[in-house]
Subunit: 313 residues, 2 copies
């Protein structure tokens, strides 16, 4: 089953279009978890890794029933070196054990054999020694497109071979996104629109039974009008939509990222879910808070979808 | 001393504009190193990491006297998960011990606090616990620009704060580079030229005593005419030039990447140096072969520079 079909199956099971971003920040992990890790491991990067793993497992336990997919942002692990990557690997394994799909938000990019190395590490098996697999192995990966198709094809190959997915940065949610993405070409098309055409083309070979391709796009929720345009340019691509919640996007803003069939987008929230316990309206127990925040987010998005699109479930 | 000044000092000391790419590939590491690692660690990722470390240390010993800088491509480590990243860290530390500057070729990119996490991990100290530093810590990092300045500023900040450098992908050496990079804007400028203007602007606050900024650019050696244009658009930026050797660029092709003062570019070769031992004209001893290959490369580039530019040493 290709990645898009797996994703849709999970969306239907959980009745949710939400993705929980697992972006641990040391200072915001509940103090008791940090203190316990330091007591056991000293003030070391091992302690940091252990605290992250325990925190993430708690979040995963709390949300696994309510969302199809989680998205660890690898920067928050990589910054702690190889111990951080160990924490990433254990987080991925735990989430998959709990039946969740995992998108590695790594925004990787390179060409040729280097891109293949990334693709093999994140979306397959770096077959270095017979039978050895690498624990980095996730279900999908975010990709940056500046290098053109040489930097995309090695990832597409692994999507085909290993039933994995990628989400290519097309239109991001940040305020300087326009600097390169919105340059107007001589034919009046914008750079990100030209890229959207390419994404649609790259996806044609990896379309699943439900009509969606495993070559998705990252489309920021902060630009709803552009989302609508992009939805038309990439009808078969699943959108990964950041910017909901902490970054200012609301449920109505993400609606244009969906197709008329009520599918086509997973909406990510990171801080708004995993650190919900810091807010007064939520439980001080970080797991209960995350669970409630995810239930609220599902309701918020599903209500908006019901209003404007064919409701999926 | 800012990164550009450190780089120029090292270039002068070694009388070399070359950079050795440390891109280990399991199957091309000499068999005795692989067998030894497997004998000691079994068929595990630990063995893979140990073999990479030993191989890299041999290369570093062989070339440290002849080049200012090395550039591990992190994809070739990351593909082996956290053990691979451990090998990366040990490689970086060993190279720095031997007096080499290290550019992490990671092509990282993200925005806001996520970009800061990458910047802190690669170009500073992820100050998570008092006194803890992360071993990922390199001297410079390659960056992808698709997100605009939000994705650049956090890295520039660390360049200023910690005397580090970045090289922003402007014009790459691959054949599909044109798909996005060469889109012609309505004012007739190409996307990569507009980016070059931005890079020049971002660098103004980080110019060192020698007139070079710590905000460099990646400019492929396979497009010499464009290199000349880019040299004019970014007079203060150091160029990191891939594509020499294995990718088809020669010494004459890289000359336009230099300024008239004979500085302004470091030219990378990876496979051509570290796997020189596979070629008949070189020693079968991989260290001797790498050393000879680097001496040849220096001579090749310095001869071409002498012909066309003010020769630096």
């Amino acid at each position: 089953m290709n990645f898009a079909d797996k994703l849709i199956k999970a969306v239907n099971q959980k009745e949710s279009h939400a993705c929980v971003g697992l972006d641990p920040r040391w200072g915001r992990i509940p103090e008791e978890i940090r203190n316990k890790a330091i007591a056991e491991q000293g003030e070391t990067l091992v302690a940091v890794a252990e605290a992250i793993i325990e925190f993430n497992q708690g979040i995963i336990d709390a949300v696994a029933q309510y969302v199809p997919v989680v998205k660890p942002q690898i920067a928050f692990y990589e910054q702690y070196g190889h111990q951080g990557i160990r924490a990433f690997e254990e987080t991925v394994a735990y989430a998959q054990e709990k039946g969740l799909l995992v998108i590695s938000d790594a925004k990787r990019n390179d060409i040729g054999s280097t891109a293949k190395a990334y693709a093999d590490g994140h979306l397959g098996t770096a077959n270095v020694l017979e039978g050895l697999t690498v624990d980095l192995n996730t279900d999908a990966l975010t990709i940056t497109p500046y290098l053109g198709c040489d930097g995309i094809k090695p990832f597409v190959n692994n999507c085909q071979k290993n039933d994995k997915g990628i989400f290519i940065l097309v239109k991001t949610s940040n305020s300087s996104a326009h600097e390169l993405q919105d340059i107007k070409a001589e034919d009046d098309e914008l750079v990100f629109e030209k890229l959207a055409d390419l994404v649609d083309e790259w996806g044609t070979e990896v379309v699943g039974e439900k009509g969606y391709s495993s070559i998705g796009a990252v489309v920021g929720a902060t630009y709803p009008e552009e989302a609508e345009k992009l939805r038309n340019l990439m009808p078969h691509s699943y959108f990964l939509v950041p910017g909901y919640g902490a970054q200012g996007g609301g449920a109505e803003d993400v609606v244009p990222c969906f197709n008329e069939d009520g599918y086509g987008a997973v909406v990510n929230s990171s801080r708004g879910i995993i650190f919900a316990y810091e807010k007064e309206e939520y439980s001080a127990d970080y797991k209960k808070a995350a669970q409630q925040a995810v239930i609220n987010m599902n309701q918020d998005i599903n209500t908006a979808l019901k209003k404007y699109k064919k409701f999926a479930f």
